[in-house]
C-alpha cells in the first residue's frame, strides 16, 4: 500500500498508508487529519479538499477541477483537489501540503 505524507496547517506531518484506488482525500478523512474538509464526499463539488502537490504522479487536472481551484483561497501552480488524486502503485512517498484555507 503506498504511503502518503500529509503536512498539515499546524506543521505536523503524518504518514498514512492509502490503498490503491482510494483518493488522497480518503486517506485524510479516514485518519481524521485536520484541514481537508471534504464536504461533498469526493464529487468535485465543494473545493474544500485543496492541497499542494508536485505534478506528475496523478491524473491531469480536469476543466472542472481547474475552474474550482482558480478562485480558491491560497491557490498556487501546484494546487489540486485531493478527491481527484487517486492513489496508484507509483504514488508511494508522495508528499502533500494542506493549506489552512479549506472551507472558506
Amino acid at each position: 500500500m503506498p504511503t502518503v505524507t500529509y503536512e498539515l496547517p499546524d506543521g505536523s506531518v503524518h504518514e498514512v498508508d492509502v490503498p490503491c484506488g482510494q483518493s488522497v482525500m480518503d486517506g485524510s478523512v479516514r485518519n481524521n487529519l485536520a484541514g481537508i474538509v471534504a464536504e461533498c464526499g469526493g464529487s468535485c463539488s465543494c473545493a474544500t479538499c485543496h492541497v499542494y502537490v508536485d505534478a506528475g504522479l496523478f491524473d491531469e487536472v480536469s476543466d472542472e477541477e481547474r475552474e474550482l481551484l482558480e478562485f480558491a483561497e491560497g491557490v498556487r501552480p501546484e494546487s489540486r483537489l485531493s478527491c481527484q488524486l487517486i492513489v496508484g502503485e507509483g504514488c508511494g512517498g508522495v508528499r502533500v501540503r494542506v493549506p489552512d484555507t479549506n472551507g472558506l
Partner: protein, 388 residues
C-alpha cells in the same frame, strides 16, 4: 477538565462536530446518539443516485469511531432532556457537560387522503432511498409531488433511467421559494425537454389506490394522473421537539446565535434543525445544507475547545440534475436584479443577483464552477465590508 460532550443526532452535522473535536485535541468523552441503525452517511447522494448509483457512502468507515473514541449509539433515540441536571434520557440517563442537538429535519407530511398506501414514499434517509430503489424500475410511472430541489433531483435521476415522470407543483413555478424565476424557467425547460411532465399551480386533492397500492394522483381540477409510485417532496420540518419540550427558544427550528449556541449556554444546536443568523440577512433563517452544518460544527468545536471563533461563511449548496452541476451561493431573495452570463441551452451559465445599489447578493450557476467560486469570493468580501 475536558468536558463530556453529548451529541444528539448522527447526521453530517453531529459527525463532523465529533471529528473536529478530536482533530482539535478534545480529550473528554464524546457520545453521539443516532436514531437510525446505519452508520452516518452522505445524504446528498440519496436523491441523485437512488436508481443505480452508490447509495451507501459512509461519512467515515466504521472503525473510525472506535479509533477516535467517539461512542456512537446507533438506533438509540433520546426521549428527553433534563437541563437542570444536565443529562439526556435514552435507554438510560446520560449526563453531559455540553449538549449538542443535531437532530436534523424530517419530510413534511402531505395532508391529503390516501397517502398512507403502498408505493408512496418520501426521501430523507438511507432506508427511504433503499425503498425507493426497490419501487422505481424503468417500467414504472412516478408522480413527484413538490418541485423543490429534492423533487427535481429525483425526477432527473428517474427520467435518466427511463422512468415516466410527472412533477406536480403547488406554486406557479418549480423552486418557487428558493430560486430566481430565471433559474426556475431554465430548469423547467431542461426537464421538459428530457421528457418529464411538469404541472404547476396544481393542488393534490387525494391519492387513489387498489389493493393497498397507489394507482393515481388526483388534482383539485379532477385530473387523475395514473402512477405506480409517488414521491412526496414538499419540504422538510425541523426536528425540534426535544428542544421545545426542554423549554429552549424555538421558532420552527431551534434558535441559535452566530456561535450555534441556544438559549441555554450549555446547549448548542447545529445543522438542519436550527434557525440561525446569516451574514447580510436580517433576522434568522433555516439553511438546509451541508455547508451550513459544517460551518456550525466548526463554531461549536471552536467554542468547546476555547479556540478562536471561525469567520462567518457564505451560504451555499449544490444540486445535480441530469448533466447539470448546479451551485448556488448567497441568499436568493425575490425582486433582485439578475444578470445572465452564458447560454442556458448550452448547459453552462451563471445568474448573478444584485441589489439596487449593484452589490452582488447571490449567484446561481450550472456547470460553471469558476463563475461560482469567483462570485462566492465576491460575496464573502461583501460580508466582510458589511461587518466593518
Amino acid at each position: 477538565m475536558s468536558p463530556r460532550v453529548v451529541v444528539v443526532g448522527g447526521g453530517h452535522a453531529g459527525t463532523t462536530l465529533a471529528a473536529l473535536l478530536r482533530q482539535g485535541g478534545h480529550r473528554g468523552e464524546i457520545i453521539m446518539f443516532g436514531d437510525e441503525v446505519d452508520f452516518p452517511y452522505h445524504r446528498p447522494p440519496l436523491s441523485k443516485k437512488f436508481v443505480d448509483g452508490e447509495l451507501e457512502q459512509w461519512l467515515r468507515p466504521a472503525p473510525f469511531y472506535t479509533e477516535q473514541r467517539i461512542d456512537v449509539r446507533l438506533g438509540e433515540r433520546v426521549s428527553s432532556i433534563d437541563r437542570a441536571d444536565r443529562r439526556v434520557h435514552a435507554s438510560s440517563p446520560c449526563p453531559y457537560d455540553v449538549l449538542v442537538l443535531a437532530t436534523g429535519a424530517r419530510p413534511r407530511d402531505l395532508p391529503v387522503p390516501g397517502v398512507t398506501v403502498g408505493g408512496v414514499v418520501s426521501l430523507r434517509t438511507l432506508e427511504d432511498a433503499r425503498a425507493l430503489r426497490k419501487h422505481l424500475t424503468a417500467d414504472r410511472r412516478v408522480v413527484i409531488i413538490g418541485g423543490g430541489y429534492i423533487g427535481l433531483e429525483v425526477a432527473a435521476a428517474a427520467r435518466a433511467n427511463g422512468v415516466e415522470v410527472t412533477i406536480v407543483e403547488r406554486e406557479q413555478r418549480v423552486l418557487a421559494r428558493v430560486a430566481s424565476e430565471e433559474l426556475s424557467a431554465i430548469l423547467a425547460s431542461y426537464h421538459r425537454e428530457r421528457g418529464t411532465t411538469i404541472i404547476t399551480g396544481a393542488q393534490v386533492r387525494r391519492l387513489t389506490s387498489r389493493d393497498g397500492q397507489v394507482r393515481a394522483v388526483v388534482l383539485d381540477d379532477g385530473t387523475a394522473i395514473p402512477c405506480d409510485v409517488v414521491v412526496v417532496g414538499v419540504g422538510a420540518v425541523p426536528r425540534d421537539e426535544l428542544a421545545v419540550a426542554a423549554g429552549l427558544d424555538c421558532d420552527q427550528g431551534i434558535v441559535v446565535d452566530g456561535s450555534a449556541r441556544t438559549s441555554d449556554s450549555a446547549v448548542f444546536a447545529i445543522g438542519d434543525v436550527t434557525r440561525r443568523p446569516v451574514p447580510g440577512v436580517d433576522g434568522l433563517m433555516r439553511l438546509e445544507s451541508i455547508p451550513s452544518a459544517t460551518e456550525q460544527a466548526r463554531q461549536v468545536s471552536a467554542a468547546i475547545l476555547g479556540a478562536e471563533a471561525p469567520a462567518p461563511e457564505v451560504p451555499w449548496f449544490w444540486s445535480d440534475q441530469f448533466d447539470l452541476k448546479l451551485k448556488i451561493a448567497g441568499v436568493v431573495v425575490p425582486g433582485c436584479h439578475v444578470v445572465r452570463r452564458g447560454e442556458p441551452a448550452s448547459g453552462r451559465f451563471a445568474l448573478l443577483h444584485h441589489d439596487d445599489a449593484g452589490a452582488v447578493t447571490a449567484v446561481e450557476t450550472a456547470n460553471a464552477p469558476g463563475e461560482f467560486m469567483a462570485a462566492k469570493k465576491l460575496l464573502r468580501s461583501g460580508h466582510a465590508h458589511s461587518h466593518l
